[in-house]
């Protein structure tokens, strides 16, 4: 599916993916983890790749291999450089009154594997969970 890069579309996208996850036989908790990972990835795209430009599009696909379920989310905005990522120090961020900055950390904790790639000006985050 593809949607406008608007936070107003977060719920329909995470529900879409969660329904697929459930249909693939994931438990309630696994489904909730996938739902949250998708939300965090899409929120980061809206905020950082597109800077809240709602005229931009986000492309979502889901699929499965023999023993894994994957969600791929693509954008055409500023690419996220995973090499700059460091694990957030949550108590320090609270002390500094910083709102969030923990989305990538959550995605990594919630999914079994996360891959970032950029090809032909399309950035992709592929999030994989074992079935």
């Amino acid at each position: 599916m593809d949607v406008a890069a608007s936070t107003g579309n977060l719920q329909s996208v995470r529900d879409f993916v969660a329904n697929h996850a459930r249909n693939h036989g994931f438990s309630g908790q696994d489904t909730e983890e996938i739902r949250l990972a998708v939300d965090e990835a899409m929120t980061n795209i809206i905020k950082h790749a597109y800077g809240y430009d709602e005229s931009k599009k986000i492309y979502i696909s889901v699929g499965s291999d023999d023993d894994t379920f994957w969600v791929a989310i693509q954008d055409t905005g500023h690419a996220f450089d995973i090499s700059t990522y460091t694990t957030p120090d949550v108590p320090e961020r609270v002390k500094q009154r910083q709102k969030g900055g923990v989305g990538v950390y959550l995605i990594k904790r919630l999914m079994d594997k996360v891959e970032y790639s950029t090809r032909n000006e399309h950035n992709e985050i592929k999030m994989i969970k074992k079935l």
């Binding site: 936070t7 977060l10 909730e32 949250l36 002390k95 910083q98 923990v102 950390y105």
Partner: protein
């Protein structure tokens, strides 16, 4: 579009915000407005009741991250209560239980504001 509402109540000096629906990057600004309004009107004892909150993302948690220090510096706090398991799990993943007062019941949080020494 994400559905989210806040019902506001008071119990003596304690302000209670009851969250309903789904709290994400779309709806977090609504919660933020409520909390900043309370701080502006010098209401520093806040209980957030999560009993009707079905979902939270880090954008929702971010609101609590941004204001807890201001409230504590003013002698107040935000106490979080009545979370469903899936909501608690997100707080837990980020280590919030050691940073925030998270309680099973709203009444416990109110009591803790009223008799802070008894909770130690």
């Amino acid at each position: 579009m994400s559905q989210f509402d806040i019902y506001k109540r008071q119990h003596q000096s304690v302000e209670i915000l009851e969250l309903n629906g789904e709290l994400d990057a779309h709806t977090a600004p609504v919660l933020e407005q409520h909390i900043t309004k309370l701080i502006e009107s010098e209401k520093y004892q806040i209980v957030v009741n999560f009993s009707s909150l079905e979902y939270i993302s880090s954008a929702g948690l971010g609101v609590f991250m941004a204001y807890i220090e201001d409230l504590r510096e003013r002698g107040g706090d935000i106490k979080l209560t009545n979370m469903k398991e899936n909501v608690y799990n997100v707080f837990d993943l980020l280590g919030f239980p050691t940073l925030y007062d998270i309680l099973d019941e709203e009444s416990q949080a109110i009591k803790r504001f009223q008799n802070p020494s008894e909770s130690e």
